[in-house]
C-alpha cells in the first residue's frame, strides 16, 4: 500500500540478497582479522559475553570472525530503494524500533553527553596512575567523605538505580584488595559483601519487580574479588579497635577519627543484621542467639552521632556529579550500560541518605515483631499493616518475608505451612475436630479429610500467596490480588465440602448414640467461614486499593463504595460475628459439660459456685477476640454508606461530571471493575442490572434528602469511631473525615451553592480509602 517498501518483499529481498551474496563471497576469501577495538567491542561486558560463548575459559583473543567490508554492496542495494523506503527484516518489530538509537541525537546517544575534549572517565588504574586517588594514609576527613558517599550510593541503589551507575562509580569498590589504608579497605570490602548479601535477600524473597530494584548489574565487577561475608564483621571490629587505640594516643583530631570509627561501627551492625537475615532466609541452621532487634537498636543509636559529623567529611564539589571529590568516577559505566536512552541518575544527598537508613532500620525493627504472630490471621494482619507503612522500600519488604519464613520454619518444623494453616484455623474459630485432646482427633477417616483439605490449601498456594502479595509494591499488589481472588473459589468449594462431611459424620455418630463425637463433629461451617473471611479481605483490599492508586474516576466512586457498603463489609462482619458466636457456644458447651461433671461429682460448695459465677464474665470477654475489628468494620461500613449516598446525591444534583461519549458504557465499566469477583461462587457476583435497580431505588428521594441520608451515615461513622478507646492515628483520621463530610453533606442538604453546580474536590490526603469532600 502507498508504495511503501515495508510491505513489499522484493525490496527487502534485494537488500538482503546482496548482503548475503557478499557474505558468501567473503567467507571463501581470507581477510585480515579485525582487532576487538576496531570492531567496537570496547565494552567489558560485551567482551565477557563474547568470551563466555567460547568453551575456553581464558581467551585473550577475539574469535576469528571473517569480517568483511560490504560497504559497496550495501550502497548498491540501497540504490534500489526509493527515498523513504526501508528494508525491514521480519524480526525487526516494535521492540527493535524502540530500542534503536539514532547516533548523534543528544536525547538518544549517551556519547553526546561528552565533549570532544573530554578525557575518558578515569578507571581505577588510571586514577591511581594520575594520583587522583590515594590508596594509603587517608585523612579522617577523606575517609568520612568516602564512607558517607558510599552510604548515599547504597541508598540510591536500593531506590532502584543501577548498581553500576551508583555504587560502582566508586573506584575503590573495584579492587579493595589494592587499597593499603586498612579502614578504607575493610569498609569497601564490607560494601561489596553487603551488595552480594542484599541481592541474595531480595532474590530469595522474590517480592521485587523491575521498577523496584535492579537485581542485575555488571557481575564482572563483583566477581573480581570473592565475597566473604563471614569475615566482614571481625575485620570491621578489628580496624575499629585499632583506630580507637590510635585515638587514645592522639592529642589532635581525635573527634575526626572517632567519627570514622562510628561509621565503621554502624556498618558493622548494619552488615551483621542484613547478613544474619540472609542466613536465616537461605539456611535451616542459623545461630538464633543473634538478637537482630538488639543490634538494630545499637545501629540506630549510632546514627545521630554520624549525622552530627557529616560536615567533617570532604563534601561533593558544587556542579560535580560525583558524590565525593575523591574516589568516584561518575560516568565510568555510561558506555557499558545496555543500549538504551540515557537515564539520569540521581544520588541522594548525605543527610537524606542517613535519613533513609534510619527509617530502614526502624522498619527492620518493626519487621522483627513478625515472630510474635504465630497464626495466619494475625500474621496476615501484620503483613497488611507493614505494607501500608513500609511498602516503599524493597529491602524492608524482602527482610520481612525472610524473617517470616524463617520464623515459621523454626516454629513449625519440617512441614511448616500445612501445620501453620491447621494451627491457624484452630486459633481462628477452633473447630473441635482440630482439638488434639478430643476423641475424634484419633479417627483416621476424619484425619484423612483434614489432611486432604490442608494439603489442597498448600497445593493451591492461595493462603501463602496472599501473605507474599503483601510484600509486593502497592501497585503490583492490586494486579496480583485480582488473580488471587479467583483462586479462592476452588478452596471455598473444598472447605464447604469438608464442613458438610463433618456434619454428615456428626449425624451418623448421633444416630449411633455417640454424643461427644457428634458434638465435636457438628461444626457450623468452620472451614468455609475461615476461607471466606480471607477471601473477603482480599476483595476489600483489591477494591479499596483502587482509591489509593488513583484508578477511579469520580463518577465511578458510586458503585465502588456501594459494593462494600451493600455486601462486602457486611460479609466480613458476619463472618467474624459467626466465629465469635461459635467460640462462645463452644465455651458454654464446655462449661455445661463441666457443670454436669461437677454436679455428678456430688454437690458444689459455696466457693465453687462463686468461682463459677465470676468465670463466664471473664470468658465472655476472652471469647470476643474480633470485637475491635468488628467495630472498625462498622465504621468502614458507615463511611462507605456515606460516600455511596453522597455520590448518589451529588450525581443527582448535577455535581458529578459523567463521560460524554458514544464509546462510554457504564455497564462495561462496572463489569470491568468487578471482574475478579465474577468467577467466585461465594459471594455470588452482583450483576449490573441488580446494581442499577438498587441505585435507582437509592436515588429516588429528593436531593436534599439524599444529602441528609449521607450525612446520617457519616454521623454514624463518627459515633462508632468516637466509641473506640485508644484510637490509633488511622481511626483519628477517619474520624476527621467522617466529621467533615457530615458537615459538608448538611450544608448541601440546606441548599448551599445551589446555583453553581461544581464538582466538589475529593481529598484523599488523610486516608487512602476515604476522601474529605470539599466544596470549592
Amino acid at each position: 500500500m502507498n508504495g511503501s517498501s515495508v510491505a513489499e518483499p522484493p525490496d527487502f529481498q534485494a537488500a538482503t540478497a546482496a548482503a548475503a551474496a557478499a557474505a558468501a563471497r567473503a567467507s571463501s576469501s581470507e581477510q585480515d582479522e579485525w582487532s576487538a577495538s576496531e570492531c567496537g567491542f570496547l565494552d567489558p561486558e560485551v567482551q565477557r559475553t563474547m568470551r563466555s560463548g567460547s568453551a575456553a575459559e581464558d581467551i585473550t583473543q577475539y574469535p576469528m570472525h571473517g569480517w568483511v567490508d560490504v560497504t559497496r554492496e550495501f550502497h548498491d542495494a540501497c540504490a534500489e530503494l526509493q527515498p523513504g523506503e526501508l528494508a525491514q527484516d521480519m524480526l525487526f518489530g516494535l521492540f527493535e524500533a524502540m530500542s534503536a538509537i539514532e547516533i548523534m541525537d543528544p536525547k538518544m546517544d549517551v556519547g553526546m553527553g561528552f565533549d570532544k575534549q573530554d578525557l575518558p572517565p578515569p578507571s581505577f588504574e588510571a586514577a591511581i596512575a594520575t594520583g587522583a586517588i590515594k590508596l594509603d594514609d587517608l585523612t579522617p576527613s577523606e575517609l568520612i567523605g568516602i564512607f558517607d558517599a558510599l552510604f548515599s550510593c547504597l541508598v540510591s541503589w536500593l531506590e532502584g538505580n543501577s548498581m553500576d551507575q551508583v555504587l560502582f562509580t566508586c573506584l575503590y569498590l573495584h579492587a579493595p584488595s589494592q587499597i593499603k589504608d586498612k579502614a578504607l579497605r575493610v569498609f569497601c570490602t564490607a560494601v561489596r559483601n553487603l551488595i552480594v548479601v542484599i541481592k541474595n535477600i531480595i532474590a530469595v524473597a522474590a517480592v521485587n519487580e523491575e521498577e523496584d530494584f535492579q537485581l542485575y548489574g555488571n557481575s564482572a565487577l563483583l566477581a573480581a574479588e570473592k565475597a566473604q561475608p563471614a569475615a566482614v564483621y571481625s575485620s570491621l571490629k578489628e580496624v575499629e579497635d585499632q583506630l580507637v587505640r590510635k585515638c587514645k594516643k592522639l592529642t589532635t583530631a581525635t573527634e575526626d577519627w572517632m567519627a570514622v570509627v562510628h561509621r565503621l561501627r554502624f556498618m558493622r551492625h548494619l552488615f551483621q543484621v542484613i547478613y544474619h537475615v540472609e542466613q536465616m532466609a537461605s539456611n535451616d541452621t542459623v545461630d538464633d542467639k543473634v538478637d537482630i532487634y538488639k543490634i538494630l537498636l545499637v545501629a540506630s543509636e549510632m546514627l545521630p552521632g554520624i549525622r552530627n559529623t557529616l560536615d567533617r567529611g570532604t563534601q561533593p564539589e558544587k556542579g560535580s556529579e560525583a558524590p565525593n571529590p575523591m574516589g568516584f568516577s561518575p560516568r565510568i559505566h555510561d558506555r557499558s550500560q545496555p543500549p538504551a536512552f540515557p537515564r539520569s541518575i540521581k544520588i541522594r544527598d548525605r543527610p537524606a541518605s542517613y535519613q533513609f537508613l534510619e527509617e530502614m532500620i526502624s522498619r527492620f525493627k518493626y519487621a522483627c515483631k513478625v515472630s510474635k504472630y504465630k497464626d495466619y490471621y494475625s500474621a496476615l494482619n501484620f503483613f497488611i499493616e507493614y505494607s501500608k507503612k513500609s511498602g516503599q522500600c524493597i529491602l524492608s519488604r524482602s527482610v520481612l518475608q525472610s524473617l517470616f519464613s524463617a520464623n515459621m520454619r523454626m516454629a513449625h518444623g519440617k512441614l511448616p505451612m500445612k501445620q501453620f494453616l491447621r494451627y491457624s484455623v484452630q486459633i481462628f474459630n477452633s473447630p473441635p475436630v482440630l482439638n488434639a485432646k478430643h476423641p475424634v482427633a484419633a479417627d483416621p477417616k476424619v484425619q484423612q479429610h483434614l489432611e486432604n483439605f490442608f494439603r489442597y490449601c498448600i497445593n493451591m498456594n492461595t493462603f501463602t500467596q496472599f501473605i507474599r502479595i503483601c510484600g509486593f509494591n502497592r501497585a503490583r499488589q492490586r494486579d496480583k490480588l485480582a488473580r488471587l481472588i479467583e483462586n479462592f473459589d476452588t478452596i471455598q468449594v473444598d472447605a464447604a465440602r469438608l464442613d458438610s462431611l463433618m456434619n454428615q459424620l456428626a449425624n451418623e455418630r448421633a444416630m449411633e448414640g455417640n454424643e461427644p463425637w457428634a458434638t465435636a463433629l457438628k461444626h457450623s461451617t468452620h472451614f468455609s467461614t475461615w476461607v471466606l473471611y480471607n477471601c473477603f479481605r482480599a476483595m476489600l483490599i483489591f477494591l479499596m486499593s483502587g482509591f489509593e492508586l488513583e484508578l477511579y474516576a469520580v463518577h465511578e466512586f458510586l458503585y465502588i463504595y456501594w459494593y462494600p457498603y451493600e455486601f462486602l463489609i457486611g460479609f466480613l462482619v458476619s463472618a467474624l460475628t459467626r466465629t465469635e458466636n461459635i467460640l462462645l457456644a463452644q465455651e458454654e458447651y464446655a462449661e455445661h459439660q463441666s457443670k454436669i461433671q461437677s454436679s455428678a461429682g456430688g454437690g458444689g460448695g459455696g466457693a465453687a459456685k462463686s468461682r463459677k459465677a465470676a468465670k463466664p464474665k471473664k470468658n465472655k470477654k476472652q471469647q470476643r477476640p474480633y470485637r475491635a475489628e468488628i467495630v472498625f468494620y462498622h465504621a468502614l461500613l458507615s463511611l462507605c454508606g456515606g460516600m455511596y449516598k453522597a455520590m448518589g446525591a451529588l450525581t443527582k444534583d448535577g455535581r458529578v461530571r459523567l463521560p460524554l461519549s458514544q464509546f462510554d458504557n457504564e455497564e462495561i465499566r462496572y463489569n470491568r471493575r468487578f471482574l475478579p469477583f465474577a468467577t467466585l461462587t461465594s459471594p455470588p457476583p452482583v450483576s449490573y442490572a441488580e446494581f442499577k435497580n438498587i441505585r435507582e431505588h437509592m436515588m429516588r428521594p429528593s436531593v436534599e434528602d439524599l444529602y441528609t441520608y449521607a450525612a446520617k451515615h457519616f454521623d454514624q461513622a463518627r459515633n462508632v469511631l468516637e466509641s473506640i478507646q485508644n484510637p490509633d492515628q488511622e481511626m483519628l483520621d477517619l474520624l476527621q473525615i467522617a466529621r467533615t463530610n457530615f458537615v459538608v453533606m448538611n450544608v448541601l442538604a440546606r441548599g448551599h451553592q445551589k446555583e453553581v453546580k461544581r464538582q466538589p474536590e475529593f481529598d484523599f490526603s488523610k486516608h487512602s480509602y476515604f476522601p474529605i469532600i470539599k466544596l470549592k
Binding site: I101, E102, G160, S344, A475, A553, P676, M699
Partner: protein, 244 residues
C-alpha cells in the same frame, strides 16, 4: 455525540437529569477545552521485555507544556465548531516529516525514526492528521493487533496538537476518529498509557469512557508513574483482568 448522558444517570423516567452540561462549567473559563499535547512512547531498557511479550508499547508519555486548564474543563468538550479543520490519514513519506515535527519538538524523551515508521507504515489508516487549511495542527498515531489472548486490541501510541491549536477539541476529535476506526475494524478494546501528572489527558480519556486500569510505578525515565488506560468496546467475558 456527547448529549446522551441519560444512560449514565440513574434517575426515574419521570425525573429527568436535573442538570444540563453547561451547569457544570466554571464561570470564568471557556467551555470547550482540550489540551492534550503530546503523547509518545518510550520505555527503559528494563521494560522492553514486556513489549515483546504482549506486543504493545509499554510506555506513553503525554506531555503538557503549559497547563492552565483544570481537568474538569477538558471533560466538557462537545458541540464546538470543528468545521474549519480537515482530517486525513497518513498517505505518503512527506507525512512522516510532519508527524515528526508535530511530536518531536515538544518532547523531552525521544523516538527513533524506526518507531514512527513502525506505526505509520503498518497502520497508515490509523494515523490521522488534523489540518487548518494546509497547516497540520494535530496528529494521532495508533495500531491494532491481536493480543496473545486472541482479542483485537487497539493502541493509541501518540497524540499531539500544536500548542497554538489546543483547547479547541482537536485532540478529542482525533481520538474519537481513531477509536471509531479501530472499532469499525472490530477492536475489542483500546489501551494507552499516560503520565500520572497529565491531568488534561487523563480527563480527556476519562470523558471518552476510558478507565484507569493499572498504575505503573516509575514508568518513565524521569521516574514518574503512569496509568494504563482502557476502553472496552465489547462486553465480553474473554477479556481477562491481566497484566497486559
Amino acid at each position: 455525540m456527547g448529549d446522551d448522558v441519560s444512560e449514565s444517570v440513574p434517575v426515574r423516567q419521570d425525573q429527568p437529569p436535573s442538570y444540563e452540561k453547561s451547569d457544570l462549567v466554571e464561570e470564568d473559563q471557556p467551555t470547550s477545552v482540550e489540551e492534550v499535547a503530546l503523547e509518545l512512547m518510550n520505555f527503559p531498557a528494563s521494560q522492553k521485555k514486556a513489549v515483546l511479550e504482549d506486543g504493545s508499547l509499554e510506555k506513553t508519555v503525554l506531555e503538557v507544556e503549559d497547563n492552565p486548564t483544570t481537568s474538569e474543563e477538558i471533560a466538557m468538550i462537545g458541540g464546538q465548531d470543528l468545521k474549519q479543520y480537515t482530517f486525513c490519514v497518513f498517505q505518503e513519506e512527506s507525512h512522516l516529516k510532519v508527524l515528526q515535527s508535530l511530536i518531536d519538538e515538544e518532547l523531552s524523551e525521544p523516538y527513533s525514526i524506526y518507531t514512527y515508521r513502525y506505526f505509520v507504515y503498518n497502520w497508515p489508516d490509523l494515523c490521522f492528521f488534523a489540518m487548518e487549511g494546509d497547516r497540520y495542527v494535530g496528529v494521532i498515531v495508533c495500531k491494532l493487533e491481536a493480543t496473545i489472548g486472541g482479542v483485537l486490541q487497539g493502541y493509541i501510541a501518540m497524540l499531539s496538537v500544536d500548542v497554538e491549536y489546543r483547547k479547541r477539541g482537536i485532540g478529542r476529535a482525533l481520538s474519537e476518529m481513531a477509536i471509531e476506526a479501530m472499532a469499525m475494524k472490530d477492536a475489542a478494546m483500546i489501551v494507552l498509557e499516560t503520565e500520572l501528572t497529565n491531568k488534561p489527558a487523563l480527563a480527556l480519556y476519562e470523558s471518552l469512557g476510558f478507565i484507569r486500569e493499572r498504575r505503573l510505578l516509575r514508568y518513565y525515565m524521569n521516574g514518574v508513574d503512569a496509568f494504563r488506560l482502557k476502553l472496552i468496546l465489547k462486553n465480553s467475558a474473554d477479556l481477562s483482568f491481566s497484566e497486559d
